[in-house]
């Protein structure tokens, strides 16, 4: 039957070299940056938040509410405890003799463990009071303790890795380590429990350029050893429990435990990779490096899906998840300069609220009129909500509920409404081609976009109406077209139509150039641009010829 009138579809151009992917958009949506500089600008060495685990079901309601609200940032001889929800510093633990390392909160959010340069390991109560209570102190390690981790399954078990080349397994009540793993020949700077059911398997990375896998049941020596080319800065087991990532120098190696072989070497960073973190429920891995770059990898082909640059070398980072679905909330990056950067992705109601506030601010900047319009919109939306609520209450017995004070019923919303054409589209449809072109070339209009102009010009060419749109103009109205052509001529996507338009303009207006200095100067500038392009093409052809002769020589 009679077809519906649709607006002119925008021209689909070939994809450019770097379109913004949905993934990039996602990572760009970590906005509303908040920076926090540590005391005396100590470098931020470690950021951690308690991973939720099924084993912590024993904790009370109050604790459960707190579970997801704390994360710990270690910098210098301090561990700062932040609130995830408010992004604010809650308390600072400063009871260290020397530089602290690896402040880790337990999964139930009650206690925190941290090592320090003296070799001491302390467990603090993060609960009540502003002054943290030391619950336990071990001084077994004789060298700095660089990594302390809680077991994901057992609340009282933790591990430590130290510069004394040992890895130890601890039980909270006892004073001595339950197990000591020896085998590394240099500082052990990173370690982790394997996730999943097999938490009695540990993985550690050391400056002896090896990643070792330890089994608590066979404590004599390491079960697996992966030799690397550079010291290991960080290890990260993936949730699958069979794959480990290890940061070794400027590369990240992907190690498969089942096949006991490295799968891949990721070499996207320029300088030493210092930190690795999981994101998006384990579907992405994020890495930070001394070159100041944060890169996001997908976990099947290990391609970089997003990347961002920070002003200072990155020492630690973490994607802090929160909420019932554990979605990414904050991107916390700690830098050498002592700055902790917190970027937050709002979701759901919070995002809406933020958007509203931004709109209101913008409207306030423009003026009262815009503010009034915004208010009217808001009122309308509220009315609609009210109506739908009323409808819900009434059930299906009535067809429409009229809200009090509503001037007209917002009915018939669901019906198919004709797509409203923009003014230039209507002009185009009704054959006023010159007017349509004027509208899209008007810099003050909303439709002023080079691709819209391109769409219109190509459509005019298809309708044999290009000349109609260009002719019978005066000095003032022809100038925007000339300027547009000059500007877009070098771009390959636009050059074809620009050439056609320029031909028409020359044909139509060359006789008036003598009488108008403005027109003459514009045409002269166009000529200059064309000459430049010709020179460029000549250079390209020369280069092409040289390469061709090289290739012919190479083939022989």
């Amino acid at each position: 039957m009679a077809a519906q009138v649709l607006p002119l579809p925008q021209l689909k151009l070939p994809m450019g070299p770097s379109p913004v992917t949905p993934e990039q958009r996602y990572w760009k949506s970590f906005r509303s940056q908040k920076s926090h500089t540590s005391t005396a600008a100590w470098p931020i060495s470690h950021i951690s938040f308690p991973a939720t685990a099924g084993a912590t079901s024993s904790s009370s309601l109050v604790a459960a509410a707190k579970v997801n609200d704390l994360f710990a940032v270690t910098s210098g001889p301090r561990v700062d405890i932040f609130s995830i929800r408010k992004r604010e510093l809650l308390k600072t633990i400063g009871r260290f003799d020397s530089e602290a390392h690896s402040g880790e909160i337990r999964a139930d959010g009650r206690v925190l463990v941290a090592g320090e340069d003296s070799g001491k390991m302390q467990v603090f109560d993060v609960g009540g009071g502003t002054r943290a209570v030391i619950l336990k102190t071990w001084h077994i390690h004789k060298q700095p303790v660089w990594a302390t981790k809680w077991s994901p399954t057992e609340l009282t078990t933790l591990m430590s890795a130290s510069d004394d080349k040992t890895v130890r397994l601890w039980d909270l009540p006892s004073n001595n380590p339950s197990l000591t793993f020896t085998g590394h020949s240099d500082y052990v700077r990173s370690g982790a429990f394997m996730p999943g059911g097999n938490s009695n398997i540990l993985v550690t990375g050391s400056y002896d350029e090896t990643v070792r896998v330890w089994d608590a049941r066979a404590s004599s020596s390491s079960v697996l050893t992966f030799k690397h080319a550079d010291p290991i800065e960080d290890v990260l087991p993936l949730p699958s429990g069979t794959t480990i990532l290890a940061a070794s120098g400027s590369a990240i190696s992907v190690l498969d435990l089942v096949a006991a072989k490295p799968l891949r070497l990721i070499t996207n960073h320029q300088k030493t990779v210092t930190t690795l973190s999981l994101a998006s429920n384990g579907r992405r891995v994020i890495s930070g490096s001394l070159d100041g770059h944060v890169k996001v990898f997908e976990t099947s082909g290990w391609n970089v899906v997003s990347s961002s640059k920070y002003p200072s070398p990155i020492l630690s980072l973490s994607v802090i998840a929160a909420g019932a679905t554990q979605e990414d909330r904050h991107l916390a990056v700690g830098m050498q300069s002592g700055v902790l950067s917190l970027r937050t992705r709002l979701s759901g109601a919070a995002a809406n609220k933020a958007r509203e506030r931004a709109a209101e601010e913008a409207a306030r900047d423009i003026g009262t009129e815009a503010l009034e319009r915004l208010d009217a919109q808001k009122a309308k939306r509220k009315r609609r909500e009210l109506t739908s609520k009323a409808m819900d209450l009434l059930g299906e017995s009535v067809d429409a509920a009229i809200p009090a004070g509503a001037s007209r019923t917002p009915g018939a919303r669901g019906s198919k409404r004709a797509v409203k054409l923009k003014p230039w589209q209507r002009d185009f449809r009704e054959g006023r081609y010159a007017s349509a072109l004027d509208r899209v070339l008007d810099p003050s209009s909303n439709d002023f976009h080079s691709q819209t102009v391109l769409t219109l010009l190509v459509a005019l060419r298809h309708r044999s109406a290009l000349r109609d749109a260009l002719k019978d103009r005066d000095e003032v109205t022809v100038l925007p077209i000339l300027k547009w052509v000059r500007k877009h001529l070098p771009s390959t996507r636009f050059s074809s139509i620009c050439i056609d338009v320029a031909f028409h303009l020359l044909d139509l207006y060359s006789e008036y150039v003598g009488g108008s200095t403005v027109l003459a100067s514009q045409f002269r500038m166009l000529y200059g641009r064309v000459k430049l392009e010709v020179e460029k093409s000549q250079m390209a052809i020369m280069t092409g010829g040289m390469v061709e002769s090289l290739m012919v020589g190479g083939a022989e």
């Binding site: 009679a2 009138v5 649709l6 689909k12 070939p14 082909g301 391609n303 899906v305 054959g431 074809s496």
Partner: protein, 968 residues
């Protein structure tokens, strides 16, 4: 009509090439083979090395590897001595189906339940309830190959089951459209018929049909002659009026009391003189008046109001005439009878009668009609808009954006619906209240060669539609659903023929089993909602879909479309030595598009668009598109001398699979291989581009998909290259196979069939020329319409070529075509048939052994081997369910007698009627419309001993025929 093979083995379009047996040094088969194919066969068995001495050897025994892996020893002796198998199956040609609706008003049956449409070679009866074809009555319109065509058709006034059909050569049929009787025995008038109308008149006590015929001959001027049935058998009627000029339209009303004819810018009104009551003289006497019209008359309608006199007779009260002009005006002459002075017999001064003018149309008013109540005028034309005029106020309402130009409008007798015939070969019935279509009948929308020019051509215009077919119809069959045929069509005939080449931006999906258009997909840019002419009155040229191919599994469709600006637009760009043609070529837009076809074929979605598939410094024509029969892969060959293969892969963005809305992984098509062909002659493409003679090319996959055969080159220098699809390496080059441009190349088994000015069959494995013919007609347009199709099932191929004809330089009306079907191992054609219309497409029927032919009259023919017939529609009447709909209990209602219903069908209908008694509501529904192939599916699934239990079969059949259970 059927042709024969003469003693030399020549047919009307092909000439057999003579060669002596064992003529190894013949210039035609001189070849420069450097290396032979090492692998060709399906199962990968390498041929034994046969280039021992560097030259191909003729062997008496050759192992022929069939596609199914059977190895048989074939005697491939020297060329001329091929053993002809006499026992080959006979090929049969089916009756044609379809056709083109003519510019003749559709006819509603008296009860508005049937619509009778006049096609170029038949009458077709459709139900208005569900748009199904009830009966197709073929008419032997073409007698001797000259331009005979139907000029008029109208329902009889006294017996509503009869239709009068008039042909321009003076034949008049009286056809019972409920039975189809009467098509064989026309009446002859022996004059040229210009137009015809039917009225019932009283001859004393009897009322008879009277034909008012506008006729002429070379010697006599145009006359209106009235015939009743007796007069028709005698061939002599009553002369009513003689004209000085040549009228074109004739209408009458009110039982013949008024007759109106138009000729040029005059119209003639004839009023029946009063007769004394009771005088049964057959004399009809009219008083004629001539009135000038400000424009050339293109359409005409009369509205009369009658009053009853005291004596009980009826007489005219008011006569209103409306005339649609060729320049877009509509002229209304109201109450014209009163203004005509009875004394002034003859010309009336034009000034004395002034019409009201309504002007909206840009071009000729193709049809204008009164509404049933006389308050509205309905008109339509080239603008594809139905215009409704309020007569008193001139206020207009529109029904815009129809799918084609409006040709005819008919208001049903009850005034409740309009039948609108559009020039895209479709007719729809629209309810007058809601303007919603209730019936839609759509035929094959391919280009046809029309009988007479459009009404728009009455006035000289900026442009004129071409009346030739310059390119074959592009078609493809959906392998997943062989009854679905995809044809490239435009927005109606006139829009398609607009400027230069055909504009075919759309693809019509046509179901050959139910014989109607299923849907139309837009494959290239088209703007049906915008004005279809430019501000200067020229047509808007839309892209042409030039290639279409399905992947082997039917899930993917590849298309190529081309557009170049019209010549008038490019004059400003001509600088230096460039010609207009070069300038246009530089601005060509050629797209290769890949579409995903939904499982039922009803939806296609664009997956990938390739902008410069083949290019040098400008876009180059894609000469050929072939699809791999074994996997989802396509290959293209372009004028740049490159073969590219295209495969699909999952779309990935930074290594992450891109998913669609339903989470399904999306695919994209990319070029997987690029093979540059060795170009004969000038190698450098950049030098002397303008002087380069046009190259031609074609390509085909081998049956097993392992080799691409690509033919490419300048005229007569084209070479065939065999490309290994695994590696992309060129395995063999065959020279001197073509004369003139390459038209087509196909591969069948171990043979290559090549069509240029020659038809050559060449065995690749044994490296010998099996046989060859040369086309007799070698003019450019004729060569372009020579076509080749290969059917793998029957190991045969079909060639269609226009028959040489000195009178026709272009492929216009009257061009005949010849179809030849060859078996691959036999140089004697197995079927030779001359079609009276140009063949625009020939393609193999999928999953059967035959071919399907589309001709320039939009008819579909099926050529099949033996008794096998493809599942094509047969009208309902042939299926025996035609009157299942006819369940009105009125005794006077028409009964559609069944032509060939057999006993079982009768029983079936008895059963249906029993059901009717019980249910008694909802009786308008067809109880059972069962396509024959459904029954075939049930009964032919297995040999009789392996059939499922009889109970199952019973339920299956019952399930087909039984009505759906009524929900209570």
């Amino acid at each position: 009509m059927g042709s024969h093979i003469d003693a030399n083995g020549d047919t009307a379009s092909l000439k057999k090439r003579k060669r002596g047996p064992k003529d190894e040094a013949s210039p035609l088969i001189k070849r420069h083979q450097s290396k032979s194919l090492s692998k060709h066969s399906t199962n990968g068995v390498p041929e034994e090395d046969r280039k021992a001495n560097g030259t191909p050897t003729r062997r008496s025994k050759v192992i022929v590897l069939d596609t199914d892996g059977d190895v048989e020893l074939a005697d491939s002796g020297p060329v001329g001595e091929l053993v002809v198998r006499k026992a080959h199956a006979t090929w049969k040609l089916s009756n044609p189906m379809g056709g083109r609706m003519l510019d003749i008003d559709p006819m509603f049956s008296a009860d508005e339940r049937y619509l009778v449409l006049t096609y170029n070679t038949s009458l077709q009866v459709y139900t208005t309830e569900d748009s199904l074809l009830v009966r197709r009555i073929p008419l032997p319109v073409t007698r001797s190959g000259d331009g005979d065509f139907i000029v008029s058709a109208a329902l009889s006034k006294i017996s509503p089951e009869h239709v009068w059909v008039g042909c321009n050569d003076g034949r008049v049929w009286r056809i019972n459209w409920t039975t189809g009787a009467g098509a064989e025995t026309p009446y002859e008038i022996n004059k040229y018929v210009l137009d015809m109308d039917i009225q019932s008149m009283e001859y004393g006590d009897v009322t008879k049909d009277v034909l008012l015929v506008l006729q002429t001959s070379e010697s006599t001027p145009a006359t209106i002659v009235a015939y009743d049935e007796e007069d028709l058998s005698k061939g002599e009627g009553t002369l009513l009026h003689t004209f000085e000029e040549k009228p074109n339209l004739l209408r009458s009303a009110a039982n013949g009391k008024v007759v109106v004819a138009t000729s040029g810018s005059t119209f003639h009104v004839g009023i029946l003189k009063h007769k004394k009551k009771g005088v049964d003289s057959p004399e009809l006497e009219y008083r004629f008046y001539s009135i000038g019209v400000p424009d050339l008359a293109a359409s005409l309608d009369i509205r009369t109001t009658l009053k009853t006199t005291k004596k009980g007779a009826t007489e005219l009260q008011q006569v209103d005439v409306v005339i649609g002009g060729a320049r877009g005006g509509i002229y209304l002459y109201s109450d014209i009878a009163a203004k005509l002075t009875p004394e002034g017999h003859g010309a009336v001064k034009a000034a004395s009668i002034q019409p009201r003018k309504y002007h909206w149309h840009r071009k000729a008013v193709h049809s204008v009609k009164w509404s049933a109540d006389g308050n509205y005028l309905i008109s339509g034309g080239y603008e594809q808009v139905l215009v409704l005029w309020q007569v008193d106020t001139s206020k207009v309402n529109f029904l815009p954006h129809l799918s084609g130009c409006i040709e005819n409008i008919v208001v049903s007798s009850q005034g409740s619906s309009y039948a609108i015939h559009l020039d895209d070969n479709s007719t729809m019935i629209i309810s007058t209240e809601e303007m919603k279509p209730t019936t839609y009948i759509s035929g094959i929308q391919s280009l046809i060669l029309g009988d007479h020019p459009s009404k728009d051509a009455m006035v000289r215009r900026v442009w004129k539609p071409t009346d030739e077919i310059s390119q074959p119809l592009v078609t493809a069959i959906n392998p997943a659903n062989p009854s679905q045929m995809f044809l490239c069509v435009g927005n109606g005939q006139q829009a398609t023929l607009g400027g230069g080449g055909p504009s075919t931006p759309q693809v019509q999906v046509f179901d050959t089993s139910s014989f109607r258009g299923v849907t139309k997909h837009v494959f290239a840019r088209t703007n049906p909602t915008d004005a279809n002419i430019t501000n200067h009155g020229a047509p808007i040229v839309e892209p042409t879909v030039t290639k279409l191919a399905f992947s082997g599994d039917g899930k993917w469709l590849a298309s190529v479309d081309e557009w170049q600006p019209p010549r008038a637009d490019t004059e400003v760009f001509i600088t230096g030595k460039k010609t207009a043609e070069e300038v246009r070529r530089e601005r060509r837009e050629i797209y290769l598009k890949f579409w995903e076809v939904s499982a039922d074929g009803s939806a296609v979605e664009l997956v990938t668009r390739i902008e410069e598939a083949h290019h040098t410094k400008q876009q180059e024509t894609i000469l050929g598109l072939a699809s791999d029969p074994t996997s989802a892969r396509f290959a293209t060959i372009g004028e740049d001398g490159v073969v590219r293969t295209w495969t699909s892969k999952f779309r990935k963005r930074d290594g992450i699979a891109v998913t669609g809305q339903d989470g399904q992984q999306l695919r994209a098509w990319t070029c997987s291989q690029t093979i540059s062909l060795p170009v004969s002659g000038q190698q450098d493409l950049t030098i002397g581009l303008s002087e380069r003679p046009p190259r031609s090319g074609a390509l085909a996959f081998s049956e097993d998909g392992s080799i691409i055969f690509a033919a490419f080159g300048e005229p007569s220098e084209a070479v065939v290259v065999a490309i290994d699809t695994e590696t992309g390496a060129i395995r063999d080059t065959i020279y001197n196979m073509f004369r003139g441009d390459v038209r087509s190349i196909k591969s069948l088994g171990s043979c290559l069939i090549m069509l240029s000015e020659d038809l050559t069959v060449y065995d690749v494995v044994s490296d010998e020329l099996l046989y060859s013919f040369s086309l007799k007609e070698t003019s450019r347009p004729a060569k372009r319409l020579a076509q080749l199709a290969v059917n793998y099932e029957s190991r045969s191929f079909a060639v269609a070529a226009p028959v040489p004809n000195e009178d026709l330089k272009l492929m216009r009306k009257g061009t005949q075509s010849e179809l030849l079907v060859f078996s691959i191992e036999d140089s004697e054609p197995q079927l030779v048939h001359t079609f009276s219309n140009l063949i625009t497409a020939v393609y193999p029927a999928i999953s059967s052994s035959g071919f399907v032919v589309v001709d320039a009259a939009a008819q579909l023919w099926s050529v099949a081997e033996g008794a096998e017939q493809p599942p094509m529609l047969r009208p309902l009447a042939e299926l025996g369910v035609g009157d299942a709909a006819d369940t009105d209990k009125q005794p006077g209602s028409m009964d559609l007698a069944l032509g060939d219903a057999d006993a079982s069908d009768d029983e079936m209908q008895d059963g249906d009627q029993d059901v009717e008694m019980d249910v008694d509501d909802d009786y308008d529904v067809h109880q059972a419309v069962v396509a024959p192939e459904r029954l075939t599916e049930i009964f032919n699934t297995a040999p009789s001993f392996a059939m499922p239990p009889i109970e199952d079969i019973f339920y299956q059949v019952a399930g087909l025929y039984a009505p759906k259970p009524v929900r209570t």
